[in-house]
Symmetry: C2
Subunit: 214 residues, 2 copies
């Protein structure tokens, strides 16, 4: 499978590229600048330039699926949250619809499920993520939305806890590597199409977790 | 008709309240603070307190229709754009769905039709407006979206130009008073349900303009 990873040089994106390659997929690592090409290649991906605020459609050429894990990051203003996390995500969805790329996995955030209940400091971010998730869900694409809780750089465990609906609130952190592995597992399991999955650190092997309430 | 105006003390909101009252409607002017009550009363409206970032549902009690013309304004940050113009609008739509208020008129902005083509300085704002508009359009409400071009405080003319689809780009300014009168006209004409109307200064009497490409 050819999988374009938008945000391939981010914390989760780097792990997604490496794990896609490990699983035998062709990972197309979409990054903003050629200076990030080596980072993609080192992880076994084919680097491509794409800018969510400019031209990125050519970077998706040949893809069977798209993973969206781009974000403006904490160091920029809320205007970039609107332009990248929300509008960039919508543009990516539109591009997939237009070019017949049917499968889309969105890396969202736990708090996007209920932005009004989020801490004030990150509430605007959760609004942007929620609106992007909704746009994807209302699209005709085969979509999976992952909403991981607090991310860490700990080593991956290969195990998570997944909740498909009405989960108990959970504070359990999750390593970015396990989120990345869950992305890859979702691409392998069509049962995840149409699902919004809240994701926590946990004890269920990832392949099992994405197939049922784990 | 009982019409709740969210953002009743804004530039367009004040005009909407006055024109609703003139047309014989009961205008429920939703404002953030009691200090704005007199401004609503002076225009013939019944003032109510409602906060889009907090509690506002009680302010809609008894309404048959809602006009959304609130905005965080140019003096605040983009975080408020996300929280008020986008999330506040979505919460207003949700409240109407939940409480059986079927009619909704959204005052949007011309550039929301194509945020990527907007001047950079206001692009994040157009993204927020577009996403709010889409949420309303995808809701089960009887919705009209108005997208006026550049607003002025000139006196109303009673005439506009309305384009229901694929209009030529137009730069013609429009007085806020004429936007407000168009809101009132939309409430009187069910043909506007389901329409997104781009609105310019023009020569067509408002009641005629909202019933066909003016």
């Amino acid at each position: 499978m050819h999988v374009a990873v938008i945000g391939a040089n981010g914390g989760i994106g780097r792990e997604v590229v490496a794990r896609l390659a490990d699983a035998g997929h062709d990972a197309l690592g979409v990054v903003r600048a050629e200076s990030q090409f080596d980072a993609v290649r080192e992880r076994g991906g084919e680097p491509r330039v794409g800018d969510l605020e400019g031209e990125f459609v050519p970077a998706l050429q040949g893809a069977d699926a798209v993973v969206f894990t781009a974000g403006s990051g904490g160091g920029t203003g809320w205007d970039e949250t609107l332009l990248v996390d929300l509008w960039g995500a919508r543009r990516a969805v539109d591009a997939c619809v237009e070019h017949g790329i049917d499968r889309f996995v969105m890396v969202s955030a736990y708090g996007a499920g209920d932005p009004s209940a989020s801490p004030e400091a990150i509430r605007p971010y959760q609004v942007a993520k929620r609106c992007a998730d909704d746009y994807l869900e209302w699209s005709p694409l085969d979509a999976t939305v992952l909403r991981p809780t607090t991310l860490t750089d700990d080593e991956g465990t290969g195990r998570v806890s997944a909740a498909f609906e009405h989960p108990e609130a959970a504070g359990a952190e999750i390593p970015r590597a396990d989120v990345a592995q869950t992305v890859v597992a979702c691409l392998a399991h069509d049962e995840t199409v149409g699902e919004t999955i809240r994701l926590f650190g946990g004890d269920t092997p990832i392949d099992d977790a994405v197939q049922s309430d784990g």
